[in-house]
Symmetry: C2
Subunit: 194 residues, 2 copies
Amino acid sequence: MRGIGVDAIAEQAGTNKMTLYRHFGSKDDLIIACLRDVAAEADEIWAEFETTYPGDPMAQLHAWVREGADCVLGDPRGCDMANAAVELAESDHPARHVIEEFKNAHRHRLAQLCRDAGIAKAALLADTLWLLLEGVRVSIQSVGVEGPCAHFISIAEAVIAAFATEPAGGQSSRLPDEASIKPRQSLPPLPATT
Amino acid sequence: MRGIGVDAIAEQAGTNKMTLYRHFGSKDDLIIACLRDVAAEADEIWAEFETTYPGDPMAQLHAWVREGADCVLGDPRGCDMANAAVELAESDHPARHVIEEFKNAHRHRLAQLCRDAGIAKAALLADTLWLLLEGVRVSIQSVGVEGPCAHFISIAEAVIAAFATEPAGGQSSRLPDEASIKPRQSLPPLPATT
DNA sequence: CCAATATGTTACAGGTCAGTAACGTCCAGT
DNA sequence: ACTGGACGTTACTGACCTGTAACATATTGG
């Protein structure tokens, strides 16, 4: 963000600085607009899940995993939102609103998807998958695609499978309780992905 | 990185810019020295695991989880290394060497720990835990500590437990194979702007 | 064809920042 | 007490960057 100038942005956008400033009042406004654009693209992808696998939330969940892996491999720069959050850490930048809103929306959407898929501990699975993807998208910038990122699909699918085999009403579950943050609980063996 | 000046760094360090420049040839050198310092601190923590639970790699692994959670809650700024990797993305900054080296060392150390703990698919467990922690440390900057980060310990412990119950020599395992990385089918990748 | 509007161009003001220079000051070792 | 070296202070240069002003040129609708 601070590493690139408005002139460079304008040139890269095929226009010039003045025009940019006539459309966006300031660089911050421009950043916000960019992030909103990223959010809109993500919304489109979510919509695609629903239209491609209508009424099949589990298939949508798998599509989410594949999409996550693809978007990582196709773009080694990670998540624009998360990157912006890192880069704007010092100031209370207005764009942080957009980032927080987007990330929360994404997280809740994922949880809803897990819930619709009949997963008992939907929120917990959603958080696990979320953390894995966020981890992948940030790791790629420090250790590259050859690292742990290469295993994302296997890991994510295994985790989904582990949660899916949980009984819906299970009080005696070996999965950690949604509300508890206590350590030392166990998960059933992870099924394979094929 | 670009968001803070050398003057500010010097003041925060209780000295002044000139002295800083007499010790470090440039700001980049200073950044590298800082990151090396971070790496040294991390090494100390790893050493602590070994001295606190000598000969008990599983206990060390649990300590790693707790340490990860503690270091997240104690510092909402995430991982300095990963943050630097994000912020120095545009240039091929010399500090990227340090970051890559550190992250790889950490990852391999974690894998070794899992191996020593008798985990069958040690590398895979290590990558999973690694991704979870990286995810936590980057998520905290966009959704705060109240989000998925709060479940890190539960999730990590559950994953360890799942891997620990795997038979050592299991060919018939339901965990994904260490080497297998499925060829992916592609969806339109996300373009992005800054 | 002719306004009205959007875009391009150049130049500039004001600010921040990395890095340097010159000079002053403190302090330990001898 | 002297001296060499490390630290502090101030001021400066040059580069870069955001944002604006004034003016020139397209483009579009009526």
